[in-house]
Point group: C2
Chain length 317, copies 2
């Protein structure tokens, strides 16, 4: 297997103006994840580091820069999973921490539970020494404006309604090492204007995130409610496991079927147990990037595959 | 298809003394669900009614009689799903209502979200006119004693540790109508002594609950953390859909593999798209019952299949 770290920065209506920052962010995250994979050899460390990079980047809807719920607050979901032993950690309704994916990992490693939400999750964060930020610290001007625009759109004429609804920018990563070990991670602020307490697909194992060395690792993004009910990641891996599909073929089939049936869109990044990558979306755009060897591939539009060469970033530069 | 309502009352170490009440409870729930199926014709109504019956019964770990978390409080999970259109509703960290499954259904029908947890979920309950009980109203003497026993066991010698851990009594139902429409529902108080905020497999679509007319309807019970990470219900339905397994064959294979790999046990009830039932558990016991025509089948021990004949219960008796 060729060690690879593949990330996404969310599926949806990415504006032309947003593209440069999105591309920079996913490339940086893929490089950081790949660097960690080379140094620690751990796919779990790699996907965590890649997602941490995107959580700290205000251009993505995760950690700092998360969108706001109806009450103007940030409530975040995340999940991380290790394909070698199916260990996993999930968190929902996380607040005031910049790296929910690291809290998900701590839930996995420090508790006997796999999924903790709300104040109980923040209690773990406190016990585990997470930096608890003051309320509002994760909120950006862009997030405030997006909520305002969303609320205004509800009073607008029917044709304008929902135009700004949807919040591209969920982030995720999958990785594979030379031995075929895979891992997956997804982190999100959810949907602008969501009801408080709403949980999307990202923290749902088999919904938005899953990893199993015997089939592959997947992170999904898009309309969370639809991804959850269609069980997108589980359906995709079932095609790989039982139908002998490649990651790419399975991603195409599941997303096309979902979009046809429910008229909602989504995107997937995946690496299957053979080491083959899958990158597909039925939304207008999805930012993604991966590093394999000394190549970084990336894109935002359908069919786009840009390549940057050169040495992988090291800790020295 | 032969209309059928199949329920379970939880997998685990059911004591001999508890068996009579468990059998009564699951039989009553199967009859109630079947009666509703006959009168309204809706599999969704049927699984909701069957689970409501078990939620109101203190002999099961759902609604009234739910087990307590580490802080001595009840936090409940539930999910309901309709196989015809994959509509679904999920709730976590529900408090002070006797019927979390009905709140899950209301989340499905009254919001644009599929999963809401914590105070946000209770806000929906209030808006939808649920009867909000005073704090502690769902707590039984048995639940208090179970938490005390659990805490005591943590101070006991190694060999005694964990003896009372685990809380059989999660409840669930699946149903099929004459046209092949299926539905599934699961409701639980979780694990005795769980950390506050802990979420198990029950509300996770593809984890503990799923329904799709094209494959079948399933409700799982047992060690939630393991069921979630192994994605038990999604794996089982993949065997039905891609491997041409019956519900029973698929339940056996998935649960045997899970128990072998993780040394934790679980149980499944299922009806597949052909109308065939699956009832299987790797735990010591699981209470279950179903009504089909004028027969009610039920059991608790492996291989047990008792039958009661006679007219289905009607609203008059």
């Amino acid at each position: 297997y060729e060690p690879t770290v593949l990330v996404h920065g969310g599926a949806g209506d990415v504006s032309d103006a947003a593209i440069p920052n999105k591309k920079l962010g996913v490339k940086l995250a893929a490089r950081k994840g790949f660097e960690i994979l080379r140094y620690t050899g751990s796919v779990l460390d790699a996907v965590e580091a890649a997602v941490n990079s995107l959580e700290a980047d205000p251009n993505f809807n995760a950690g700092y820069g998360s969108v706001l719920n109806w009450d103007g607050e940030v409530e975040m979901d995340a999940a991380i999973m290790n394909g070698a032993d199916l260990s996993a950690g999930c968190v929902s309704l996380a607040r005031d921490i910049i790296n929910p994916i690291s809290l998900a990992r701590r839930i996995m490693e420090s508790t006997k539970h796999r999924y903790i939400a709300g104040p109980g999750a923040m209690r773990i964060a406190e016990q585990e020494g997470f930096n608890l930020l003051p309320p509002g610290a994760l909120i950006t001007e862009a997030a405030i404006k997006a909520l305002q625009d969303y609320k205004n759109s509800l009073n607008a004429t029917q044709t304008q309604k929902g135009v700004v609804y949807g919040s591209p920018g969920t982030v995720g990563a999958v990785a594979i090492d030379a031995c075929g070990n895979v891992a997956a991670a997804t982190s999100t602020g959810g949907l602008t204007g969501k009801l408080p307490g709403r949980i999307g697909d990202s923290p749902i194992l088999g919904g938005g995130t899953y990893a199993d060395n015997e089939s592959g690792a997947v992170s999904a993004t898009g309309h969370g409610e639809t991804i959850m009910r269609y069980n997108v990641v589980a359906r995709m891996l079932a095609l790989v496991e039982h139908g002998n599909y490649t990651a790419q073929e399975a991603a195409v089939q599941v997303l096309e079927q979902m979009t046809q049936r429910f008229n909602e869109t989504a995107g997937i990044i995946a690496v299957d147990y053979r080491g083959q990558l899958g990158i597909y979306f039925t939304s207008n755009r999805m930012s993604w990037a991966y590093q394999r060897g000394n190549q970084v591939h990336f894109g935002v539009d359908a069919g786009e595959d840009e390549i940057e060469f050169g040495e992988p970033r090291t800790t020295d530069n």
